[in-house]
Amino acid sequence: MTVDQIPAPAGATAPGRGGRAGGDRPRTSMTTRRHRAFYMFASPWIIGFLLLTIVPMAYALWLSLTTYDGISPHWRFIGLANYRELFADSVTWDALGRAGLFAVTSVPLSIVAGLGLAVLVNRPIRARGLFRTLLYLPAVVPPVGAGLAFKSLFDQNSGAANGVLNIFGIDALGWLADPYARYVLLMTVLWAAGNVMIISLAGLQDVPRELHEAARIDGAGAWRTFRSITVPLLSPVLLFQTVTGVIASVQTIMPLLLAAEPTTGGVTAIPQSNYMYMMHVFAEYFALGRYGYASALLWVLFVLILIVTGLIFKFTSGVVFYNVDPEAKK
């Protein structure tokens, strides 16, 4: 009897083969099984990402190289002409500048407001749950509803805001026109600061209580504790909010909802201070039918978002504090 002919003892595994005991089926290593499980769980997202993001992005890239308008018979390939036009288009750059300005004002304001509210409702106060709910409620109001509410509230002739001013003998203001429209837009952002609050609140509850107690014993005051313990431990959360906030703010659609006529053709009737990049994209796509040019605008925005995100990571790498080094090798 050769070695090969010796029957394997019950429960033993044939060398070099996976599978169950007995060696009748190939065995799968733990690593392979884990990889397989990972891809099975991740596949719905990956498939969705490929079909609903990568494919349309590639399609948009192709469109950006053409004069396609969706319906006309004589569209053609024009190479990078749309990109060249874009870089020379002052309306585009003005719109981008306004979007950038909106991002650098609205994101810090909403983070500060949200964090402040989170600190407040994290304290042991009566009816804390009620306050948390009330403060978060605006964040769950659909943007269309919020837009209509703000429009009614700030209408020059019939809005409550001017009603209040009139009580104090102040003449009505054209809130939804320049130069006030930008402030109304900022108010809509702050009104929905509950979103930032809820994430900051989760972060605050993750801060170890013993660190605060140790600081207090060492004689640190409330502000010092907040600045030296709470904020560093919250910094990953704040970074997340900054990145997603910047991305969301440059894509905001709220100016259109606040507009006099939130329609395809009415998109440019938005007060100039609120005519931001995505409004311009919307107008080029749907009012002017310039699918090629609008796709080029979107691709440029995509690249800019990547660059800005990269810069945020680069400049915050020294100030964001992780409890566990996320990049450390095990």
Partner: protein, 452 residues
Amino acid sequence: MHAHAGGPMSRRRFLTVSALSAGGAAVGGTALSGCALPVSTGVGGGGETVTVMAKAEDISPELIKQAQRDTGVRIVTVKHDITKLIAMLTSGNPPDLVRGVGAVDTAYFAARDVAENLDPYFAKSSVLTADDLDPVNDLWRYDGRTQGKGPRYGMVKDFSQDSMYWYNTAHFDEVGLDYPSESEPVTYEEWLERAKRLTRRKNGQTIVFGGSYNGLYEATNLSTLTAAAGGSLFSDDLSRIDFTAPAARKALGWYIEYCRTKVGPSVIQPDPNAWDGPTYQASRMAMTNSGYWLGGMINTDEKLAKASRLAPAPVFEGGPRVSPCQGGTGFWMPRKARNKDAAWRVFEWFFGEAPAKARAGGGWGIPSLKSLRPLMPAEQDYQRRVLRAQEAELAHFSVISFTPYITADGFKALFNQVAPAAMKGEISVDTLARRLNSTINEQLERGKEQVG
């Protein structure tokens, strides 16, 4: 730490992926709207099915049931949306009938060869006969150069002459102004003067708008005003615009003055109701530039109906009387529609049978078939009064050509981008005219190139 199967994704990596996904969604999500996504026709069950792209108010669920009873054809509706229409046309799966605005859509779709020539269908129809068609249906004709001539691509469901205006006599009484004539037009300058006197303000708020005059679209309003000043907004081949030409300059100047004086809603003084109806009904507007159709709303309030008058379209001093229809909403049939015969049956039924008769009696527009005119509401004195004014105005109807090289929405978007500065007095009307020429002609040039 590297993300691996079964292990947690690092926060940094999660943020990176989130940022990439969100950025990608910005490109991908919007681009998707332009993709040629197949849209189901909803065909199924027995009998023929016709897909109609319409707004909810065009075809109610009751009307759909009635269509099945009357014609045996099942109607499936798709909400009217230009991006969806483009997607359906591109994917070769268009609706069988599509809502459209004859005044501004006919040339656009016909020139792009996506609309079916309906002349052969009209020729065979015993319901929609040539001698019964109101001239307003010429809005749906285009011969490649001129709107109003050539093959028919659609039909109007009902219409108004949209340069006319309604006024509320109570406001005129309040400020001691004579009522405008219901048969003879005032000049645009007189209209604006009256609007100024009728406007009431308090604490920086406009309590009563003296008058609204925005037309249905900026493009149709300005081309009508230009025609009333004795000119044409578009060149003969419809490929260029010239606001510096005397008639167009006069029209533009008048409209900018209307906006600057803030006697009525405009892009720099928006009406929160977005249209005149509720404001006029609430007695916060003395004159509204709306045609006969607004009577459908006014007549629901007897007090308001008795105080309201319908007046002819104004004229410019020495200019012609021009009173076109700026809308002419109806349906057209895509050239690649799959169920053309069934669609035509629905078309005939909608425009010539029970629904058309019901619309004619509703007072929301003038029927597009002459034979249905006797059904227009005339039971009350105020209804007869309005009808007389309207019937006299029909003599001044004409079709004003709209270019196939830009959409009304596109015109509006470009106009609104440039004009507010002039409305606020920051630039002169002449500067505005030159800027409009530049920006709109650029778009017209693109459109012409694409139509070929």
